[in-house]
Amino acid sequence: MVGLLARTLSTDVREEVIHRFAEPPKLSLFEEDKYGVLRHARVSRVRRLSRRYLLAELELLEQFEDPPGPAQFVMIWLPGIDYIPMSIANSDEGRIHIFFSVRGEGTRALANSKGKMVGVVGPLGKPLAVSARSKYVLIAGGTGLAPIIKLARGLSDMGLLAAVIWGTRAREDVGEVPFYFKEVTGCNLTICTEDCSVGFCGRAADLAEEVLPDLENTQVVAAGPNDMLITVADLSMRVGIDPVLILESMVECGLGVCGRCVLGSTGLRLCRDGPAFRASEVMDYLVDVALRRGQKH
């Protein structure tokens, strides 16, 4: 078990072997990055944009090293309460926006966090890569709008934004959301309501069905409930587009090690390999989840 070298060579000979200069490995001194370190932020404001949607504005005490990219998210630590993933809806030096709705304990605490200090880990996930060679149609459902806001802002700056479709339930849910969207991106939001009270009558996926078949040389990015993502992917694929889908799954560590967010048998980690994926990579997984949920009902 003792190494052959160590066992068989006398010290002198070994010295020589050791110092015989072959091709030494290229060495880089270790530098641990700050990926995933806990920072602090003060919640300077929580705006109610509508009955359903809220906007939290966070001021970072410790700045990010690099500006976050589209689809990246943070883990928000609400001490003693929860640790939850939230997309970076918008960011400017030292400030980030979180667009969210209250679902459970964590989001409720966030809604009530004005003036408090929270923990922020991120930006996490892979920034969505944008191609300058095509125009983009963005489709969002509900809080799926969050990552779309940041992306729309970037695309609009680059002159690549064709349209942004957003679906929610009713007029009361729309509220100031379009104004906020315009504030940040300079662009208009095409609204869909399920109860037909404003904008297009139907879900975002229904509008997508009307729009997508006519697209050429266009990229599609969608974020929202899985059903919507499946529909959008289906429609897009039929016209030869492999859209980008921004998914959600249970995120625990956000660092790519715990395995909690892995998307079924794909082996893809939402928190690290995503949350934005090509539909072709994740379609089987999405359909699987939908089927399984169907079975449960």
């Binding site: 190494g3 090690v257 395995g259």
Partner: protein, 301 residues
């Protein structure tokens, strides 16, 4: 020149496995680990029944380096082993099932299930630093270590690996594990620590205590490997803080035949390739035909 190694009777195409607890808790995670290039897959530690674990935060990075985690041995219970093993078999990668229990019986129970469904080896987690009843007390007591290893070795024929953590008597515990039938030792687990947030005035981990992993524990782990190898020339798998080929090579010259990598995945998905490329050049530098020639080389200085 070859990076092949045989450890605990397992022939591996290279010495880099994943560490237990990273990704090996679901079939998809096993797929990912295979894609990342590990030569053998170690599952998350599995107990007889499913365990929920703590509420997040359970895993956070530390401003002073490394990670701290207290997932509380969250795992889906022994019933999942079958599926994990079958995925690994399909991918043609050896799979080692990590096991814990509150008693010898529980350890043996999970080990039997692992053997039944075709696992290549079992790794006994005798050293989880943050979950009561499964924990450090066990690994710190050489006699308990012996009795757990014995009870597992007596009911299974797959190779048994014993994973120990840092404790005052870790060298003695290692000897008891070997006596009791462990084919190899896995050294070391995380080190108990606390990370407190000075604004929230509370520990960041919900479980308060957590296990420190990553670069900070590397010199400690190398020390344990060195001491155990010096005493017993045992088969050792070194783990703790590997982040590049040099930190891996340190384990080898300290006496490890293979290594495991956990925390490094946070920063580097190419870690396996990076380590192997470095090790290959390192062998070339010494004109060594095989990695085994350098195992324990530091003891001859």
């Amino acid at each position: 020149m070859s990076l092949e190694v045989t450890v605990a009777s397992l022939r591996l195409k290279h010495p880099v496995m994943n560490a237990s607890g990273v990704l090996g808790n679901t079939p998809g995670g096993v797929v990912k680990l295979a894609k990342l290039g590990f030569s053998a897959i170690v599952t998350k530690t599995i107990t007889p029944e499913p365990r929920e674990g703590f509420k997040p935060p359970t895993i956070v990075r530390l401003p002073t380096g490394g990670l701290i985690n207290a997932v509380g041995l969250a795992n889906p219970g022994k019933r999942t082993i079958k599926e994990l093993v079958s995925v690994a078999k399909k991918l043609n990668v050896p799979i080692i099932v990590s096991i814990a229990g509150r008693s010898e019986k529980e350890f043996a129970e999970v080990a039997c299930e692992a053997q039944r469904v075709g696992a290549d080896a079992v790794e006994l987690n005798l050293s989880c630093p943050h979950t009561e009843g499964y924990g450090l007390e066990l690994g710190a007591d050489p006699l308990k270590v012996r009795s757990v290893v014995e009870s597992v070795a007596s009911v299974t024929s797959v190779p048994v690996l014993a994973k120990l953590g840092l404790s005052d008597r870790v060298v003695e515990a290692a000897s008891k594990a070997l006596e009791a039938g462990a084919e190899a030792l896995v050294l070391i687990n995380t080190v108990k620590g606390i990370y407190i947030d000075v604004y929230a005035l509370r520990p960041v981990l919900t479980a308060v205590y957590g296990g420190l992993s990553g670069p900070p524990i590397h010199p400690i782990a190398v020390r344990v490997v060195y001491d155990v190898y010096r005493e017993y020339q045992a088969e050792i798998i070194g783990v703790g803080g590997i982040l590049d080929w040099k930190t891996a090579a340190e384990f080898i010259v300290a006496g490890a035949k293979a290594v495991q990598v956990g925390t490094a995945l946070v920063s580097n998905d190419r870690i396996v390739e990076d380590v192997l490329e470095g090790l290959r050049k390192w062998l070339q530098y010494f004109g060594a035909g095989s990695i085994t020639e350098l195992v324990g080389a530091a003891h001859k200085a």
